[in-house]
Protein backbone atom coordinates (compact mmCIF):
# COMPACT_ATOMS: atom_id res chain seq x y z
CA UNK A 1 0.00 0.00 0.00
CA UNK A 2 0.99 3.57 -0.51
CA UNK A 3 2.64 5.44 2.34
CA UNK A 4 1.08 8.37 4.11
CA UNK A 5 0.58 11.30 1.76
CA UNK A 6 1.37 9.19 -1.28
CA UNK A 7 -1.29 7.94 -3.67
CA UNK A 8 -1.32 6.45 -7.10
CA UNK A 9 -3.12 8.44 -9.77
CA UNK A 10 -5.54 5.52 -9.97
CA UNK A 11 -6.32 5.98 -6.25
CA UNK A 12 -7.39 9.59 -6.58
CA UNK A 13 -9.01 9.57 -10.03
CA UNK A 14 -12.46 8.26 -10.86
CA UNK A 15 -10.89 6.50 -13.82
CA UNK A 16 -7.77 6.50 -16.00
CA UNK A 17 -8.19 5.40 -19.58
CA UNK A 18 -6.35 5.21 -22.89
CA UNK A 19 -7.49 5.15 -26.50
CA UNK A 20 -6.11 5.51 -29.98
CA UNK A 21 -6.70 8.94 -31.48
CA UNK A 22 -6.26 8.26 -35.14
CA UNK A 23 -3.57 5.76 -36.21
CA UNK A 24 -0.57 7.71 -34.95
CA UNK A 25 -1.63 9.19 -31.62
CA UNK A 26 -2.60 7.82 -28.24
CA UNK A 27 -4.71 9.75 -25.75
CA UNK A 28 -4.64 9.19 -21.99
CA UNK A 29 -7.45 10.56 -19.85
CA UNK A 30 -7.48 11.07 -16.09
CA UNK A 31 -10.99 11.90 -14.95
CA UNK A 32 -11.91 13.02 -11.43
CA UNK A 33 -15.20 12.50 -9.65
CA UNK A 34 -15.45 16.04 -8.34
CA UNK A 35 -13.97 19.48 -8.73
CA UNK A 36 -12.21 19.48 -5.36
CA UNK A 37 -10.11 16.40 -6.14
CA UNK A 38 -9.38 17.75 -9.62
CA UNK A 39 -8.17 21.06 -8.11
CA UNK A 40 -5.90 19.25 -5.65
CA UNK A 41 -4.42 17.21 -8.49
CA UNK A 42 -3.78 20.35 -10.51
CA UNK A 43 -2.15 22.09 -7.54
CA UNK A 44 0.19 19.14 -6.92
CA UNK A 45 1.34 19.35 -10.57
CA UNK A 46 2.47 15.72 -10.68
CA UNK A 47 2.74 15.41 -14.45
CA UNK A 48 5.00 16.99 -16.99
CA UNK A 49 6.58 15.78 -20.22
CA UNK A 50 9.59 14.35 -18.44
CA UNK A 51 7.50 12.24 -16.03
CA UNK A 52 5.19 10.92 -18.75
CA UNK A 53 8.04 10.16 -21.14
CA UNK A 54 9.68 8.17 -18.32
CA UNK A 55 6.50 6.22 -17.57
CA UNK A 56 6.05 5.24 -21.20
CA UNK A 57 9.69 4.89 -22.26
CA UNK A 58 9.36 7.39 -25.06
CA UNK A 59 11.23 10.61 -25.90
CA UNK A 60 9.90 13.78 -24.27
CA UNK A 61 9.25 15.20 -27.73
CA UNK A 62 6.67 12.42 -28.25
CA UNK A 63 4.60 13.73 -25.33
CA UNK A 64 2.69 16.15 -27.50
CA UNK A 65 0.15 17.75 -25.18
CA UNK A 66 -0.88 17.80 -21.54
CA UNK A 67 -4.29 19.45 -21.35
CA UNK A 68 -6.13 20.43 -18.18
CA UNK A 69 -9.80 20.43 -19.15
CA UNK A 70 -11.71 22.12 -16.35
CA UNK A 71 -15.31 21.51 -17.58
CA UNK A 72 -14.80 17.72 -17.32
CA UNK A 73 -12.51 17.73 -14.23
CA UNK A 74 -10.08 15.86 -16.45
CA UNK A 75 -6.48 15.82 -17.67
CA UNK A 76 -5.79 14.66 -21.22
CA UNK A 77 -2.35 13.62 -22.40
CA UNK A 78 -1.59 13.07 -26.07
CA UNK A 79 1.35 10.87 -27.06
CA UNK A 80 2.82 9.90 -30.37
CA UNK A 81 2.55 6.13 -30.64
CA UNK A 82 5.90 4.35 -30.97
CA UNK A 83 4.28 2.15 -33.64
CA UNK A 84 1.22 3.18 -35.61
CA UNK A 85 -2.05 1.41 -34.87
CA UNK A 86 -2.01 -2.05 -36.44
CA UNK A 87 1.55 -1.62 -37.69
CA UNK A 88 4.02 -4.51 -37.78
CA UNK A 89 4.91 -5.51 -34.19
CA UNK A 90 2.28 -3.27 -32.65
CA UNK A 91 0.22 -5.04 -29.97
CA UNK A 92 -2.73 -2.80 -29.03
CA UNK A 93 -4.61 -1.63 -32.11
CA UNK A 94 -7.21 0.34 -30.14
CA UNK A 95 -4.63 1.71 -27.73
CA UNK A 96 -7.07 0.82 -24.95
CA UNK A 97 -4.59 -0.99 -22.69
CA UNK A 98 -1.97 1.72 -22.26
CA UNK A 99 -3.33 3.44 -19.14
CA UNK A 100 -1.64 1.27 -16.50
CA UNK A 101 1.75 3.03 -16.18
CA UNK A 102 -0.10 6.31 -15.59
CA UNK A 103 -2.65 4.72 -13.26
CA UNK A 104 0.04 3.18 -11.04
CA UNK A 105 2.22 6.30 -10.93
CA UNK A 106 2.71 7.46 -7.32
CA UNK A 107 2.26 11.12 -6.49
CA UNK A 108 2.42 13.26 -3.36
CA UNK A 109 -1.07 13.90 -2.05
CA UNK A 110 -2.05 16.28 0.74
CA UNK A 111 -4.17 14.70 3.46
CA UNK A 112 -7.80 15.77 3.13
CA UNK A 113 -8.55 18.67 5.41
Amino acid sequence: MSGRGVRTIGDVAQFVTSKNAGPFLLTLDIVFADEATYRIFKSVKPLDRHVIAGLYGIPETDVLKIIEFDPAYAIKVTLRRPLSSGGLGETDVYGAQQHVPLMLHEIDWPEAG
Partner: protein, 235 residues
Protein backbone atom coordinates in the same frame (compact mmCIF):
# COMPACT_ATOMS: atom_id res chain seq x y z
CA UNK B 1 -39.75 15.13 -25.15
CA UNK B 2 -42.41 16.40 -27.56
CA UNK B 3 -42.41 15.13 -31.12
CA UNK B 4 -40.73 17.60 -33.45
CA UNK B 5 -42.27 18.63 -36.74
CA UNK B 6 -40.11 19.78 -39.60
CA UNK B 7 -40.54 23.35 -40.82
CA UNK B 8 -38.35 25.68 -42.83
CA UNK B 9 -36.95 26.87 -39.52
CA UNK B 10 -36.37 23.48 -37.99
CA UNK B 11 -35.04 20.18 -39.17
CA UNK B 12 -34.72 16.83 -37.44
CA UNK B 13 -31.91 14.38 -38.04
CA UNK B 14 -32.02 10.78 -36.87
CA UNK B 15 -28.80 8.84 -36.50
CA UNK B 16 -30.27 5.36 -36.00
CA UNK B 17 -27.03 4.04 -34.49
CA UNK B 18 -23.40 4.93 -34.07
CA UNK B 19 -22.12 2.40 -36.60
CA UNK B 20 -24.05 0.60 -39.30
CA UNK B 21 -24.24 -3.02 -38.22
CA UNK B 22 -23.94 -2.55 -34.46
CA UNK B 23 -27.59 -3.62 -34.01
CA UNK B 24 -30.22 -0.87 -33.76
CA UNK B 25 -32.57 -1.56 -30.84
CA UNK B 26 -36.11 -1.61 -32.30
CA UNK B 27 -37.50 0.58 -29.55
CA UNK B 28 -34.73 3.13 -29.96
CA UNK B 29 -35.45 3.40 -33.69
CA UNK B 30 -39.18 3.74 -33.03
CA UNK B 31 -38.56 6.55 -30.55
CA UNK B 32 -36.38 8.28 -33.11
CA UNK B 33 -38.92 7.91 -35.91
CA UNK B 34 -41.64 9.27 -33.60
CA UNK B 35 -39.73 12.61 -33.77
CA UNK B 36 -40.50 12.78 -37.52
CA UNK B 37 -36.94 12.93 -38.85
CA UNK B 38 -36.17 14.57 -42.19
CA UNK B 39 -33.25 12.26 -42.84
CA UNK B 40 -31.64 9.06 -41.62
CA UNK B 41 -27.88 9.47 -41.52
CA UNK B 42 -25.38 6.91 -40.33
CA UNK B 43 -21.66 6.42 -40.17
CA UNK B 44 -20.46 2.99 -41.23
CA UNK B 45 -16.73 3.21 -40.72
CA UNK B 46 -13.82 3.85 -38.41
CA UNK B 47 -10.05 3.99 -38.37
CA UNK B 48 -10.10 2.40 -34.90
CA UNK B 49 -9.74 -1.24 -36.02
CA UNK B 50 -6.47 -0.43 -37.79
CA UNK B 51 -5.43 -0.57 -41.44
CA UNK B 52 -5.99 -4.27 -42.13
CA UNK B 53 -9.64 -4.05 -43.21
CA UNK B 54 -9.00 -1.09 -45.47
CA UNK B 55 -6.09 -2.79 -47.18
CA UNK B 56 -7.75 -6.20 -47.44
CA UNK B 57 -10.94 -4.65 -48.84
CA UNK B 58 -13.15 -6.36 -46.28
CA UNK B 59 -15.63 -5.00 -43.71
CA UNK B 60 -15.15 -5.24 -39.94
CA UNK B 61 -18.88 -5.60 -39.30
CA UNK B 62 -21.02 -8.69 -39.89
CA UNK B 63 -22.95 -8.81 -43.18
CA UNK B 64 -25.99 -10.22 -41.42
CA UNK B 65 -26.06 -7.42 -38.85
CA UNK B 66 -25.50 -4.73 -41.48
CA UNK B 67 -28.31 -6.16 -43.60
CA UNK B 68 -30.69 -6.21 -40.65
CA UNK B 69 -29.90 -2.60 -39.65
CA UNK B 70 -29.95 -1.25 -43.20
CA UNK B 71 -33.28 -2.97 -43.83
CA UNK B 72 -34.74 -1.20 -40.78
CA UNK B 73 -33.53 2.12 -42.17
CA UNK B 74 -34.82 1.42 -45.68
CA UNK B 75 -38.22 0.38 -44.31
CA UNK B 76 -38.47 3.75 -42.58
CA UNK B 77 -37.18 5.64 -45.62
CA UNK B 78 -39.67 3.87 -47.89
CA UNK B 79 -42.62 4.50 -45.60
CA UNK B 80 -41.75 8.17 -44.97
CA UNK B 81 -40.03 9.20 -48.21
CA UNK B 82 -37.00 10.56 -46.41
CA UNK B 83 -33.39 10.18 -47.58
CA UNK B 84 -30.82 7.77 -46.20
CA UNK B 85 -27.20 8.93 -46.06
CA UNK B 86 -24.40 6.46 -45.32
CA UNK B 87 -20.74 7.39 -44.95
CA UNK B 88 -17.59 5.23 -44.89
CA UNK B 89 -19.45 2.26 -46.36
CA UNK B 90 -18.09 -1.15 -45.48
CA UNK B 91 -15.90 0.26 -42.70
CA UNK B 92 -12.86 1.35 -44.69
CA UNK B 93 -14.79 3.25 -47.35
CA UNK B 94 -12.65 1.97 -50.25
CA UNK B 95 -14.05 0.74 -53.57
CA UNK B 96 -14.56 -2.90 -52.49
CA UNK B 97 -16.18 -1.69 -49.26
CA UNK B 98 -18.68 0.48 -51.13
CA UNK B 99 -19.39 -2.39 -53.51
CA UNK B 100 -19.91 -4.75 -50.57
CA UNK B 101 -22.52 -2.46 -49.00
CA UNK B 102 -24.21 -1.80 -52.35
CA UNK B 103 -24.52 -5.57 -52.73
CA UNK B 104 -26.24 -5.83 -49.32
CA UNK B 105 -28.42 -2.84 -50.24
CA UNK B 106 -29.50 -4.36 -53.57
CA UNK B 107 -30.36 -7.62 -51.88
CA UNK B 108 -32.68 -5.84 -49.44
CA UNK B 109 -34.30 -3.81 -52.23
CA UNK B 110 -34.88 -6.95 -54.32
CA UNK B 111 -36.40 -8.83 -51.41
CA UNK B 112 -38.72 -5.96 -50.45
CA UNK B 113 -39.47 -4.49 -53.85
CA UNK B 114 -37.91 -1.10 -53.06
CA UNK B 115 -36.64 1.21 -55.79
CA UNK B 116 -34.84 4.31 -54.54
CA UNK B 117 -32.94 6.78 -56.71
CA UNK B 118 -29.47 5.82 -55.48
CA UNK B 119 -26.05 7.45 -55.54
CA UNK B 120 -22.72 5.86 -54.73
CA UNK B 121 -19.70 8.06 -54.08
CA UNK B 122 -16.20 6.61 -54.27
CA UNK B 123 -13.37 7.79 -52.02
CA UNK B 124 -10.30 5.91 -53.26
CA UNK B 125 -7.61 8.09 -54.76
CA UNK B 126 -5.03 7.24 -57.40
CA UNK B 127 -1.47 6.72 -56.17
CA UNK B 128 0.08 8.45 -59.19
CA UNK B 129 -2.09 11.53 -58.65
CA UNK B 130 -1.15 11.61 -54.97
CA UNK B 131 2.58 11.21 -55.70
CA UNK B 132 2.39 14.13 -58.12
CA UNK B 133 0.83 16.18 -55.33
CA UNK B 134 3.65 15.20 -52.96
CA UNK B 135 6.27 16.07 -55.60
CA UNK B 136 4.71 19.52 -56.02
CA UNK B 137 4.70 20.11 -52.26
CA UNK B 138 0.92 20.19 -52.11
CA UNK B 139 0.56 17.67 -49.27
CA UNK B 140 0.72 18.78 -45.65
CA UNK B 141 0.53 16.35 -42.73
CA UNK B 142 -2.18 16.42 -40.08
CA UNK B 143 -1.40 16.17 -36.34
CA UNK B 144 2.23 15.15 -36.71
CA UNK B 145 4.93 16.65 -38.82
CA UNK B 146 5.94 13.43 -40.59
CA UNK B 147 5.74 14.19 -44.31
CA UNK B 148 4.00 11.78 -46.69
CA UNK B 149 6.57 10.21 -49.03
CA UNK B 150 6.21 8.42 -52.33
CA UNK B 151 7.64 5.30 -50.61
CA UNK B 152 4.76 5.34 -48.12
CA UNK B 153 2.30 5.74 -50.97
CA UNK B 154 3.86 2.80 -52.87
CA UNK B 155 3.75 0.65 -49.72
CA UNK B 156 0.02 1.27 -49.22
CA UNK B 157 -2.40 -1.28 -50.62
CA UNK B 158 -5.26 1.18 -50.83
CA UNK B 159 -5.63 4.90 -50.14
CA UNK B 160 -8.89 6.68 -49.36
CA UNK B 161 -9.56 10.37 -48.95
CA UNK B 162 -12.08 11.64 -46.45
CA UNK B 163 -14.96 13.60 -48.00
CA UNK B 164 -17.00 16.29 -46.28
CA UNK B 165 -20.68 17.15 -46.64
CA UNK B 166 -20.40 18.55 -50.19
CA UNK B 167 -20.56 15.25 -52.15
CA UNK B 168 -23.67 14.26 -50.16
CA UNK B 169 -25.31 17.56 -51.04
CA UNK B 170 -24.44 17.05 -54.70
CA UNK B 171 -25.98 13.57 -54.66
CA UNK B 172 -29.16 14.96 -53.07
CA UNK B 173 -29.22 17.78 -55.66
CA UNK B 174 -29.14 15.12 -58.36
CA UNK B 175 -32.20 13.48 -56.85
CA UNK B 176 -30.69 10.66 -54.82
CA UNK B 177 -32.80 9.32 -51.96
CA UNK B 178 -30.19 6.81 -50.83
CA UNK B 179 -26.53 7.81 -50.79
CA UNK B 180 -23.85 5.18 -50.16
CA UNK B 181 -20.49 6.89 -49.86
CA UNK B 182 -16.92 5.75 -49.34
CA UNK B 183 -14.68 7.24 -46.66
CA UNK B 184 -16.39 10.31 -45.22
CA UNK B 185 -16.11 12.52 -42.18
CA UNK B 186 -18.72 10.98 -39.88
CA UNK B 187 -19.97 14.37 -38.69
CA UNK B 188 -20.45 15.54 -42.29
CA UNK B 189 -22.78 12.65 -43.11
CA UNK B 190 -25.08 13.70 -40.27
CA UNK B 191 -24.77 17.42 -41.08
CA UNK B 192 -25.18 17.25 -44.86
CA UNK B 193 -28.96 17.76 -45.11
CA UNK B 194 -29.19 20.63 -42.59
CA UNK B 195 -26.27 22.42 -44.29
CA UNK B 196 -27.94 21.96 -47.68
CA UNK B 197 -31.15 23.42 -46.23
CA UNK B 198 -29.27 26.53 -45.14
CA UNK B 199 -28.66 25.83 -41.47
CA UNK B 200 -25.41 27.14 -40.01
CA UNK B 201 -22.58 24.89 -41.16
CA UNK B 202 -20.50 25.09 -37.99
CA UNK B 203 -23.50 24.32 -35.80
CA UNK B 204 -24.57 21.47 -38.08
CA UNK B 205 -21.09 19.91 -38.00
CA UNK B 206 -21.04 20.23 -34.22
CA UNK B 207 -24.42 18.48 -34.14
CA UNK B 208 -22.97 15.83 -36.44
CA UNK B 209 -20.03 15.26 -34.11
CA UNK B 210 -22.36 14.66 -31.17
CA UNK B 211 -24.64 12.34 -33.16
CA UNK B 212 -22.08 10.38 -35.14
CA UNK B 213 -21.82 7.73 -32.44
CA UNK B 214 -25.61 7.59 -32.05
CA UNK B 215 -26.63 7.18 -28.44
CA UNK B 216 -23.02 7.12 -27.22
CA UNK B 217 -23.22 10.83 -26.36
CA UNK B 218 -25.98 10.21 -23.82
CA UNK B 219 -26.55 8.17 -20.68
CA UNK B 220 -26.86 5.23 -20.57
CA UNK B 221 -24.01 5.21 -23.05
CA UNK B 222 -24.75 2.86 -25.95
CA UNK B 223 -23.44 3.49 -29.45
CA UNK B 224 -25.93 1.03 -30.91
CA UNK B 225 -28.82 3.27 -29.86
CA UNK B 226 -30.34 6.08 -31.89
CA UNK B 227 -29.66 9.78 -31.47
CA UNK B 228 -31.87 12.66 -32.64
CA UNK B 229 -31.01 16.33 -33.12
CA UNK B 230 -33.16 19.25 -34.26
CA UNK B 231 -31.24 22.35 -35.36
CA UNK B 232 -33.27 25.56 -35.46
CA UNK B 233 -32.76 28.51 -37.77
CA UNK B 234 -31.10 31.33 -35.86
CA UNK B 235 -29.32 29.04 -33.41
Amino acid sequence: MAPTASTRDRMTVLAPEGMLGYGIPVRSMEEGLARNPDVLAVDAGSTDPGPYYLGAGVPFTSRRAVKRDLAMMLDAAHARRIPVLIGSAGGGGGRPHVEWLVNVYREICRERGYRFPTATIQAEIDKGWLKAKVARGQVTPLDLLDPLTSETIDAATRIVAQMGDEPFQKALDLGAEVVIAGRACDASVIAALPIRAGFDQALAIHMGKILECGGAAAYPRHGSHSGVASPKAGD
